[in-house]
């Protein structure tokens, strides 16, 4: 094939005035598309790496179809303002003595970051699907509820050996002097859920929606939606302990939450359609 010889230096500059708006737009689109493919690919490759390394979307972390209702909590870390109303509500609802707690809020300080200096992380019993405390208990005083998946206590069987306190990697247990047994979060089963309420004390008291509580087996539940979306990363605490927790964490900025609540243009991963 022969190329025509063009003398570029001798050519006359036509100027940009002769390029139509449509052509410009086409050109820009092409540029964006190319840049987008590369950038998107890069981000995807990064997220997949993160996933295999430590945390991925919640769908992989959540074990499906075991319990019904499968109670779970998603904590949107960025929205917690450390008002401690959840701790107060928990203490009031469950008669938690002053020397202990069932839930608390941890403070994480960042140094050298641009947008944020501090973040609050609420922690509670993770109601693990593979609970080390239940394995450790010699008398089955603590057990995994076969219906709801809540890790509960049968106080009369507790011998107070405190193995479960050490087995728990989330520091969720304490010895309750009044009950003569270990006490822990039961997702307010005794005080609220078993009486027909749908929210735990802490999630009902949370003013920002940092704690969302729901049924992981119900696709309409906010917990299901948050866990199964793939826009934002969802993780659990101490995944290396292989406890399969039912308390999930995400940053949960307002934008993504809005999208989920409105259900607008929000796509989430649906395992039934795979």
């Amino acid at each position: 094939m022969k190329f025509p010889k063009i003398d570029f230096d001798a050519m006359k500059n036509e100027g940009t005035g002769s390029v139509t708006a449509v052509e410009r737009r086409k050109f820009l689109k092409l540029g964006f598309a190319i840049a987008g493919v590369y950038a998107g690919g890069k981000i995807l490759s990064l997220t997949s790496l993160v996933g295999s390394a430590q945390a991925s979307t919640g769908a992989e972390r959540a074990v499906q179809d075991i319990y019904s209702p499968h109670y779970a909590m998603v904590i949107r870390q960025s929205m917690c303002i450390d008002c401690e109303r959840c701790v107060e509500a928990c203490t009031k609802t469950n008669d938690v003595p002053d020397y202990a707690y069932r839930t608390r809020i941890l403070t994480k300080k960042y140094i050298g970051t641009l947008d944020k200096a501090v973040e609050f992380i609420p922690v509670l019993c993770n109601h693990c699907n593979n609970p080390p405390c239940v394995r450790g208990c010699p008398t089955k005083a603590t057990y995994k509820d076969p219906v709801t998946g809540i890790v509960r206590m049968e106080n009369k069987k507790c011998i107070g050996c405190k193995t479960c306190m050490l087995a728990c990697p989330y520091d969720a247990r304490y010895f309750n002097e009044e009950k003569h047994a270990i006490d822990k979060c039961d997702f307010c089963w005794e005080k609220r859920l078993s009486k027909g309420e749908t929210q735990t004390g802490c999630s009902a008291a949370c003013p920002t929606g940092a704690r969302t509580f729901g049924d992981l087996s119900d696709p309409n539940s906010i917990v299901y939606k948050l866990v199964h979306q793939i826009q934002e990363e969802v993780w659990v605490l101490r995944p290396e302990d292989n406890t399969k927790p039912n308390v999930f964490y995400m940053k949960g900025t307002i934008g993504s939450v809005d999208a989920i609540l409105k259900g607008s243009k929000f796509k989430y991963f649906d395992p039934t359609k795979v």
Binding site: K108, I121, C161
Partner: protein, 435 residues
């Protein structure tokens, strides 16, 4: 009844309370002192139980296992060790170690009971345990296996001891073997309780079950050396040629086990230095709060000094052995403490990088915890001292397996073989010349 008592006295070498009454005033005062301290410990412990452990113990939500668990482990480790060391002789037939069998098995039972005395004051509802361990067992729980296996172990040890007293050596040997197996299962399972808490990196892994068994053997060797040489001070008659030989073999054995534990400890430190979860603990051993515990008590008193002095003693200088092993037992106590407490020092949310979990947790035992531990330890001392007198220094004319064609020399206590057609007297003359 009295006839039966005489019979038992002859057969078992049981001298009863009368022997205790005949003891010197100094001996009685020592027993009385320890009995009083044990009683004080018991009362303080009961006081703690009455007012609630939360108010008097220094254990917290984050460090729920404190000094009582360390003391309990110290006792049961020594108990298992004594069982292991005694089994070399009277179960596996190592003749040199046979003379210590009775004292070792007796002490093994006492140490186990002492451990139970201590853990009674750690478990919040010990009476529920008796019921629910049976009705609602969790076979996946190491804790359940611990209760069950140690219970079985105690029963077997008691049967074994009864057979030893009754001079029924065939049964004693079989029961001793079962007891040893159950004891090793129980004790490695105790290491497994810690080793299977995978949320605690300092404990997690197969290291502790293995370490516990070797460590038990070392503790057992140390304890039987200490209590035998101490018994020789109380009653020099127990030291005959056979016992001298046993002490010599035991010294050698203990040196070997100390060397093993030094090896274990070196690798614990080296591997811990590169693990994220273990590093802060190992550093606190080397340079931090636990440096004195670890470097002075555990390493120096528990390993290096006894290794040096036991080699120096050549198994012959009993006073030196007594002091060495006595100090070593203090070191071993700290060794147990250094497993239990530092393992809980790193908060579970440490890796999350939160402010609340940025520092290592600290723990100092309270008065009640110390006294409740002392109750168990003094119980052991009192039972030992009383046992030495009441059981006549654990001597018996025949307390081990005597091969056919042999007899136990009444002079030296050794096993001598008779040549064909020889009488015992002739054999004795041949063995000892002028006798």
């Amino acid at each position: 009844m009295s006839e039966m008592m005489i019979n038992i006295s002859e057969k078992w070498g049981y001298h009863g309370v009368a022997a205790l009454k005949k003891a010197s005033p100094g001996y009685k005062m020592v027993i009385g002192f320890f009995a009083l301290v044990a009683l004080a410990g018991l009362l303080v412990g009961l006081h703690g139980k009455f007012v609630g452990y939360r108010h008097v113990y220094n254990v917290t939500k984050e460090i729920p296992w404190g000094m009582l668990i360390s003391a309990y482990i110290f006792c049961v480790v020594t108990s298992t060790g004594l069982c292991i060391v005694s089994s070399f002789g009277h179960v596996f037939g190592n003749e040199a170690l046979m003379p210590i069998a009775k004292r070792a098995v007796f002490l093994s039972i006492i140490f186990l009971l002492g451990g139970f005395c201590i853990i009674f004051f750690d478990i919040e509802n010990p009476f529920r345990m008796a019921i629910w361990n049976v009705i609602s067992p969790n076979f996946r729980s190491n804790m359940w296996w611990m209760g069950t296996l140690y219970g079985a172990y105690m029963v077997f040890m008691m049967i074994e001891y009864y057979c030893l007293l009754n001079q029924n050596h065939t049964v004693s040997r079989i029961v001793g073997f079962i007891g040893l197996t159950v004891g090793i299962a129980a004790h490695s399972n105790l290491g497994g309780i810690f080793g299977m808490l995978h949320g605690r990196p300092f404990w997690y892994g197969p290291y502790l079950p293995i370490y516990f068994i070797f460590s038990a053997a070392m503790s057992g060797g140390c304890a039987i050396l200490f209590f035998t040489t101490l018994a020789a001070k109380i009653n020099p008659e127990i030291m005959n040629q056979r016992m001298e030989r046993a002490v010599k073999s035991l010294t050698l054995l203990t040196i070997y086990f100390i060397a093993t534990i030094i090896f274990f400890t070196i690798w614990k430190v080296i591997t811990g230095l590169v693990s994220e979860g273990k590093y802060p603990i190992i550093m606190s051993f080397l340079t931090g709060d636990y440096a004195i515990n670890f470097l002075f008590f555990e390493v120096f008193l528990g390993m290096v000094l006894p290794l040096f002095l036991l080699i120096l003693s050549r198994g012959r200088r009993y006073t030196l052995i007594m002091w060495t092993t006595g100090l070593m037992m203090i070191g071993i106590f700290f060794m147990r403490y250094d497993i239990v407490i530092p393992g809980q020092m790193v908060p579970v949310y440490h890796s999350l990088g939160v402010v609340e979990a940025s520092h290592l947790l600290s723990y100092v035992p309270s008065f009640h915890e110390i006294m409740a531990s002392i109750w168990g330890l003094c119980f052991i001392i009192v039972a030992y001292l009383a046992g030495e007198k009441m059981l006549n220094g654990h001597q018996l004319q025949k307390h081990e397996i005597v091969p056919e064609g042999a007899y136990i020399c009444p002079g030296c206590g050794g096993i001598h073989y008779m040549k064909e057609g020889e009488t015992m007297e002739e054999a004795m003359k041949r063995q000892h010349g002028s006798w």
